[in-house]
Symmetry: C2
Subunit: 151 residues, 2 copies
DNA sequence: GCTACTCCCTATAGCGGCTATAGGGTCAAG
DNA sequence: CTTGACCCTATAGCCGCTATAGGGAGTAGC
């Protein structure tokens, strides 16, 4: 009992359009069709699409997934590149985490400069002197202060 | 001594095309032009572009930056929304960090399943039983193992 | 049979934030 | 007077979808 595209979509938590997109991109093979042109999928396709979705959740792009699928379809003697791929992703993810932690610190410094107390104009302006504690945010506050002063 | 677009690019570490893009998107105002149509910028434009780039580094999108620029140009009585914006971004960034930490743990579990030792086929396959320690990665390894066994 | 409804099809355009390409004009130095 | 670095506009492409338009297929109830 083959699945129609909507069934495959439900089974994998994927949007119908996304399935067609993966097919166009060569991640899913051309499925059989009914006489009226409806796509028909098997359990293998469910597995394959699950695999793809898991890879996507791991931050892999479609080209990488294509390579992994090719290996899955017919394993080559060497899979060293798979380890390298995973290694590369770990480094990549770590770099993103580091960058986001820095960003968060900056944003928290920014937040600290606006108390939300609007007794005299904007809290950001009130609470921030020219020498901001967060150099990367100076532009905003100094300008705000200057402008506010002009009114 | 006004700056040409290349000078502005260098002064702010921005690509020339990106500057023109920001202009088209209404983040930078239409600059003066020379007789031959070259854009001419002032120090104010340098500041403005620096501001934009800093916001981008803070993960803000162009629409948000447009709003901040509008405020910068003519501050409104209330700036509560600015705090809210920053707050929203902090939450957003934290969510991204959390998600990436989970992802990293998964990838490290994946890595652990391939020793790089290819004594008998793929290390991933050798080292991984059916009951993977990382449920989200099972698909890959079980399939790999099964396929390998078929050869 | 007819209608209503849900599903399916293809083709194309849009999103954000750039980046690249094509095809040309400007300007200063040698 | 040519070379080379810069500038211009307009348009298309990147990724991974998502949305829209305009239609056909299949099923249930009347």
């Amino acid at each position: 009992m083959p699945l129609k595209i909507g069934d495959l979509a439900k089974a994998t938590g994927t949007q119908v359009v996304t399935i067609r997109y993966y097919e166009k991109e060569g991640l899913l093979r051309q499925p059989e069709r009914t006489g009226s042109g409806y796509r028909l999928y098997s359990e293998d396709d469910v597995e394959r699409l699950h695999f793809i979705r898991r890879c996507r959740q791991h931050g892999m792009n479609l080209a990488e997934i294509r390579d992994l699928l090719a290996f899955r379809d017919s394993p080559a003697p060497s899979c060293a590149w798979i380890s390298e791929l995973v290694e590369k992703h770990i480094a990549n993810v770590q770099a993103q985490i580091d960058s986001l932690l820095t960003l968060k610190a900056h944003l928290e410094a920014l937040r600290g400069t606006c108390s939300g107390d609007h007794g005299r104009g904007c809290g950001i302006i009130d609470s921030l002197g020219h020498g901001s504690s967060c150099p990367c945010c100076e532009g905003l506050h100094c300008r705000l202060e200057r402008r506010q002063g002009e009114r």
